[in-house]
Structure formats: C-alpha cells, structure tokens
Amino acid sequence: MPSSERFDIAISKLSVRYPDRDSDALVGFSETIAEGEVVAIAGPSGCGKTTLCRTLAGFVPSMIPAAVSGDVCLGGESLRNVAPEALATRIGLVQQDPDAQICTLSAWQEVAFGPENLCLPAPEVRARVERGLAELGIAHLRDRVTTTLSGGEKQRLAIASILAMEPRVLLFDEPTANLDPRGVQALFATLSDFGRTEKRTLVVIEHRIDALRALAPRLVLLDHGETVERYPARERIDYAEAGLRGAWALPAPETASGSPRIVVDRISFGYDEALWRDLSFTLREGEVLVVIGPNGGGKTSLLRLLAGLASSRTGTIERSRGTQVGFVFQHPHHQIFERTVRQEIKLGNPRDAGGVDAELLDARLAGLDDAVPLSLSLGEQRRLTMATTLARRPNLLLLDEPFIGQDRRNVLWMISRLREVVAAGGTAVLVTHDIPLAAALADRVLYLDRGVQLLGPPDEVFGRLRDLGEIAFTPETWS
C-alpha cells in the first residue's frame, strides 16, 4: 500500500461469541480510530477488551474459534478475510502474557524473528533488533536465554519484538501487567515518542489508566462487551467513579502488635551472584508487608523462601507453630488442577453445593462453575486461585502480583479478603508493582533491588526512594 494512504480503523457492529459461552464477548461494538490516534480501552475484567484486540489482529476467528458478525476495516479495506500473518505487517499485537508470546530461545533472536519473517535485508534486521532492544532498555539482555528472564524482562522483550516490525497500528493488551514502575514510565515515554514521530496508531488495553498519563489517550470504557462511556483525550477522569484503578482511599491499617509469625534472619538470594544479602525482618500477626522493586530483583524468590518452597544460601527462616501458608502464584494456571471451576473449588476442601456456590459468587465467578478453569480469562483464573487458597484458611498469606488483570472492583474484593485474613490474626506478604496501592495497604514496605534493601513504614521507605532518585517507585508519581 502506498505510504500516503490513511490507516483509519473502522469497527462496525462487531459481535463475538465463543463456542463455550452463552453470551457475547463483544456486543455490536462500533468505534472509529483515526490514524495516529492513541486510544485506551478499559473496563471490568472479562468485559471483552482482549477479545477486541484479538479480533482486530485477525486471530479471532481464524485461530481462535468464535462466531463473529460485523466488520473491521483498516484504511477502507475489510479485514474479514485477511490472514493474521498478512495482517501482522500492518497491525502488531503485544499479548497480555509475555511468556505466551516468546517463541525463540535467545533475546536477540526473539526481536529478530518478526523482521526476518518480513524478508528484510539482514543489515536492516540487525539494525531494527538493536534499536528495539535499546528502546526498551534491554540491550544488556541480548544474549540471554529467554527462559531465564524475569516476567518484566520478558514483557519488555515481547514489546521490543513487536516494535521491531514497525506496524502502523500497535495493539497492547495490558502492557504494564508485568512491568515495574520504572519500566512502565520508560514504555510509555517510548510509545509517546513512537506515536508522535512515526504517526502510529496505538490502542492500549489497560486497567491502570494512571499509567497511561504520558500518552494522554482518548478513553473508551467497555462493559459486558458494549461501550458504556467515552472520554475525550486529555480529559481528567475520576478513576473511582469510572470504576478504574488509579487512586485508592483505603482505611488506614492498624498498627500490628501481635506475636511474631515469621522471623527472617540474614537470608541471601541470587543465581550466579547474590541479588540481596543478609535480609532480616520479623513479621507479626496482623501485619501486611508489601514488597516492591524492579523486575528481576528477587521478589518472587523471597515469597518462595517464606513459603518454604526454596532454601536460602545463608541465614534462617522460622515460622511460628501452627503457621498455615497460603500462596497465590503469579501465574494462576500453575495452581489449577481440576476440569471444572466447581471441582477446583472443592479440591482439598470438600463441601456442599451451597458452600461452593457461595464461594463462586463471592469471587465473582458465578455462572462459570462448569467452565474449564484454564479457559477462563487471566483475571478470572487469579480470582479462582485466590478463592481456593483462602479456602484453606491460611494465616500466612503470600500473594504474588495478584492484581494483574483485575479491575477496581476485583482489586477491592481481593483487598477485603486479605484484610479478613489479617484481622483474624493472619499475616500477609504482597508483591505488587501498583505503588499507590502499596502505599495505601501496607503496614511496612520492603523495597528490593540489586544491592539495595529498604524496609520500614511506607512514608519512610518512599521518602528514602525519593532521596535515591527512584521516583517511579513513589506514590505521588502515579497520583
């Protein structure tokens, strides 16, 4: 196509229904997105955002079976019969789960994969790879084996691999999900430049609209597959009123003064070299510790050590007698064992149908009791694993990025369940990149980076981070 041609996207009465569901994921969705425009799509979990992205990229219905009606046109051309691999020259999709996107074994080769498929000359491929790696700040990872990267590093790699293809339209399905705050800032600064200088259309699905401020997007709110509200670009939005994540006004936590639940004494962790050394703290009954820090800083590893799933090179971890550990993993599919949601809830905790129904309703999974758990959205899978973990009545609750893919209502549900555990004398350790939420929820904050360990009340830790110039990790950056 000639480069002067406009690449406006016209979505007209688009409806999508998956074979195993009894309602439409998208219901007559219509929208026009002008070339070069930045549009954010937000809405509750399961409202059809990911389906919209996958349909725009051509994966629904050609690779993901679904009944589709309506039409999507790009530059006036209907995309109905365009194969995904042909459409990918114009539309690039960064998927929600970076693990699912990476298909080679080295970071350099992963970024080269798309340009090589485009049959570009080898020097051009190499130049795009270097540019992509540099733009996402991961040039130092170029020779790393992809399976050894952290979640955030994989996310950056997945984004670099799509940017290297230089499509005219970029679709991002929750690009900040696995990124640390520093990475979120860098990503949107890059995308902002990309949109401005290259005049590319950006469609970003995001629960954390606060993270998108640098892009000043037009916002489309979806619910149950339909548009419920549109906000023009640069409009100030009341996040809470719009049902979005951003600012949090939670009741202040009470000062924890219970008995020690877990005593950590001079533990160290690292692979080839120590990520952190001599980490010591005592967690008390009724306390919430929130762990923050850059990707690859060993936050998940700390949770595994606290759960007794891994051993520290040095030091000791002592749990008080009667400690019952509950651990919600970062990737929920690892914790799902049964064939239906109902069986999954009952696994290890047999109870009557009424009890299961109540738990499904509480976790906002009612109506999905016979669904295959792994066919649920990531957000739904996380709520399911939270529900199954809480069913074991833990008094040491470990949560690894539980808020990824969750809308405001689901986050508030998770917080209320966490506080129930804490109010009953339990202790919670939460890993998150949502800094405003960390500030609102924590009794103490632990910041972990290579060689830097800060532990204390939120105000104290955020103050020290400010002094260190790590403003991406302070709440005011996101308020």
């Binding site: 990229a57 994966f59 690779m63 194969a83 995904p84 691999e85 042909a86 990918a88 020259t89 690039g92 999709l93 998927q95 789960d97 693990d99 699912a100 996107q101 990476i102 298909c103 080679t104 074994l105 080295s106 350099w108 080769q109 080269a112 994969f113 798309g114 340009p115 090589e116 498929n117 485009l118 049959c119 570009l120 000359p121 080898a122 491929v125 190499r126 790879v129 020779d143 084996v145 399976t147 691999s161 799509i162 293809m165 595994r304 759960a307 799933l309 550990v325 509950g326 651990f327 993993f329 990737h331 599919h333 690892h334 914790q335 064992f337 696994l347 290890g348 792994l374 199954t388 074991r392």
Partner: protein
C-alpha cells in the same frame, strides 16, 4: 550459548552433522569396538566442551541404568551361540553380545544427543538449516521442540510447588496413587503445554511467520577452528565404521 569451549564454539550445523554421523554409524555398524570408541569420543568432546569427567558420567547415570535394563533383557531373551548358564535362566554368548551392543548403542545415541542439545544454540542451528536451503518451517519445528524442554521443566517445578501449597500429596506407591499423581501432575503440565502451543502459534502468525516462502537469516555465523575438529571427529567415526565393516570386527 555463543561463548564457552569446544563444541559451544563450533557452528551449529557442524554439530548437527556430527550428531547425524555418530548416530548413523552406531546404527549402521553393529560393532562393540566402534560403539565403545565412539562413546569414548563423545566423552572426550564433552570434556573439551567444558564438562568435568565426573559430571559427564553423572549426567548419564539414569541413561546407564536404563541401558543396563536393556542389556539384561537382551541377555535373557536371546539364546544363540555358546551357552554359559542354563539354570535358573539361560545365558548365551549371543545374548550377552546383543545386550552389550544394544546398551552401548543406546548410551552413544543418548549421550551424543544430550551433548548436542547442551552445546548447540537452536536458533543458530535453524538459521544454518535455512542457509543450507532447508525450508524454514522445518528448522523452526526443531527450535520449538527445544523451546519446550525448559518450559516443561519449569512447569513441572511450579506444579509440584503448587501441589505442596495446596496440600495435594503425590506418591507412586500403588497403581491408584500413580493414577492420582498423573492426574494432578502430568495433566496440568500437558494442558498447560497445549495452551502454550496455541499461544505460540498465535504469536508466530502475529509476526508474519509463514507469510513468505523464504525468510532472512540475519545472524552471521563466525567460523571457528572447533568446527574443523568436530567434522574431523565425525569423519573419523565414519572411517572407523567402514574399516570395522570390512574387517568384520565384533
């Protein structure tokens, strides 16, 4: 995988050709001497590629155990040649020889394949295959197969950890428990693998895989003296096989 010693530094295509040569020879020539010599050659290559001798043999301990089972099965089931023992089982020279050949062949194929996987960057190999004129889809089939090795290892570890925190006890002490273990271990890993296959297919199509009949091989392949060494070992194995076949060595 670009650094390192020995076969890490030879070109992936050379390693591939070497693997084919070694496996081809042990399959084509039923000779204990050839198989033993090639196993020794593989051990030398592994050591020059960075393995400590003890490490090489430790890696083979499960394979050796299985090779021993093969040896015993062959020795007990083949009854030709001189008879050594008649009761309680019949053991003959033919059975022992067939068992030794089978076990050695198994050890050579597994150890050479493991060495190949450890020392060869599959991405670079796929690029080499493309340069050699092999359709890139086949090259990427190979990459994807290897991509799933660490994936399944990680999934298995995570599923086992999830079982521990969910209080699911897995044991293999009875057929019922084995079925239980399979259901709660292998089924989640397998289902997860199938989902991953789907999502990687989407990811590949989403980056124009299959759009054209050719694709660029962008990574330059520096030539190394180790490629010549590897080819020399492969050539030596083939020459040894020819001599063995003519001389009718056992």
């Amino acid at each position: 995988m670009t650094g390192g010693r020995g076969l890490h530094r030879s070109s992936p295509m050379t390693n591939f050709v070497l693997l084919l040569a070694l496996v081809g020879v042990v399959l084509a020539v039923p000779s204990l001497i050839v198989e033993g010599a090639i196993l020794l050659g593989v051990a030398c290559l592994a050591i020059t590629s960075g393995d400590r001798p003890a490490q090489f043999f430790r890696r083979l301990r499960f394979v050796t155990l299985f090779a021993l089972v093969l040896f015993i099965a062959q020795a007990l089931s083949i009854h030709t040649g001189q008879v050594f023992v008649t009761s309680p089982v019949r053991i003959t020279a033919g059975g022992l020889l067939a068992g030794a050949r089978m076990a050695l062949r198994f050890l050579v194929i597994l150890s050479a394949s493991a060495l190949f996987v450890r020392t060869t960057d599959p991405d670079r190999l796929a690029q080499g295959l493309i340069r050699a004129g092999i359709p890139y889809r086949y090259g990427y089939l190979f990459i994807l197969a290897l991509r799933f090795v660490p994936f399944f290892q990680d999934e298995l570890r995570s599923v086992r950890e999830a079982q521990r925190v969910r209080g699911i006890k897995v044991s293999v002490r009875s057929p019922r428990r084995i079925a239980h273990a399979a259901r709660y271990t292998f089924v989640p890993v397998l289902v997860s693998g199938l989902h991953r296959v789907d999502s990687i297919a989407i990811s590949m199509k989403g980056r124009c895989f299959g759009l054209y009949s050719r694709r660029t091989a962008s990574r330059e392949e520096p030539q190394s003296g180790w490629s010549l060494v590897a080819l020399g070992v492969g050539g030596l194995a083939v020459a040894l096989a020819i001599v063995a076949a003519r001389g009718r060595w056992i």
